[in-house]
Subunit: 269 residues, 2 copies
Amino acid sequence: MNENPIGIFDSGIGGLTVLKEIIERLPSEDTVYLGDSARVPYGTKSSDTVVRYSLEIADYLIREHNVKLIVIACNTASAYALEALSKHLTIPVIGVIEPGSRMALRETRGYNIGVIGTEGTIKSGAYARAIEALDKDAKITSTACPLLVPIAEEGLEDTDIARLAIKGYLGEMLAANPVDTLLLGCTHYPILKDTIAEVIGKDIVLVDSAKATSIGVYDILLEMGLMNTSEETGEHRYLVTDSPDRFHSIGRRFMDNADISAELVEIER
Amino acid sequence: MNENPIGIFDSGIGGLTVLKEIIERLPSEDTVYLGDSARVPYGTKSSDTVVRYSLEIADYLIREHNVKLIVIACNTASAYALEALSKHLTIPVIGVIEPGSRMALRETRGYNIGVIGTEGTIKSGAYARAIEALDKDAKITSTACPLLVPIAEEGLEDTDIARLAIKGYLGEMLAANPVDTLLLGCTHYPILKDTIAEVIGKDIVLVDSAKATSIGVYDILLEMGLMNTSEETGEHRYLVTDSPDRFHSIGRRFMDNADISAELVEIER
């Protein structure tokens, strides 16, 4: 039993889909979410820079909020900084890539897995590497869908623009290689899940790495005896590193209109 | 006569459309373009932060490259930092907002001007203020088109997605208020100019603030005796503050496939 909060961070808003799944799965846990809005996006930045930012944030969350576990709710930071954080920290750390990859392998029937994500995530090959490390037999096809993040952020998930973009990105990939499982390798994509399912049809299983990560968090807390077993509903704090306006207006939709009033914090020492 | 280069900066890639117009209009001038890719985008950052970044960059361009004029080829930085830079610097500074506004007023027949831009630019009201300051009689309607930047960056300017997005953003605005002139208040939008013209029809005059800014630069150099009157073709340097990969791959298209090999520089002291 450990009543300290779980620390979750992302370069911005996308990681809220991971937080939402964690809150649903572990309603007694307190959480502290940090959106590094001053330095968003991470996807276009170099590996060294993203590692440095991630270390700063992890140190901050431990120092100021005494978190018991760090969730890297960001694909870029998971790909670049998970190893550095695991080495540097004495508390457990989990990213979004390994849990998503594990779940895709659990769901696939034909070992033919598609992965979609931002350009940075797909280019990094992080999901392909993670899936191959778990199972060499899986065949992986991946494609970048850069327009889907702004479509999700602008609330256009249920429009013809979204359908056209998804068809454009996935049509070719699916025609060339009919995958049986599609891994949503970007924290924004759960917002577009229904539209993606509508476009690609019911035969392809959609794997949501936000949901997969929440299962990973549950498993770690259980294994390490860190679960908050109180009966009370957890409290949730939101921190941002620059003006919270955009975080509030877009983030609220990502969290089913929950109150996500965020405090502005300074994390650089 | 002054042979020093012109310094141009933007948070990233968009300002290249301004650079392109400057090179076309002033082929003998040397230029130094700085894309602050480590800290892109500015649009979501606070005014104080953007002013600080802009001052750092201007100081850097003067210190390291001895530029004779600074062009703020970024709408956010123009809105927030033009005043601070003008006060702080001893060389002339020009932004993109005033020249675009001036040209819109020159082009309009019915004093009914539409302005499109990113959410940050439109919310700031910078164009509306600039146009009103020049002429109180103009009626201004504006609308944010957040998806157009990623559409331009992904090379989707000539697709149904682009047409659908433009129709979505502008259809309502034009139905409610048939403007006679539309000001492209974002440095990315010149890329989409043909598609915008196709969607809105030929009756509406499109005003490109990148082109307008290049005229402003010409006028300042002429007035202040700073023009490079040599017969030689100017040289163009490109600097970025983080990995140049994205700058190269996307920027090249913005510059009609010119060589824009960029050097990575450190501007913070």
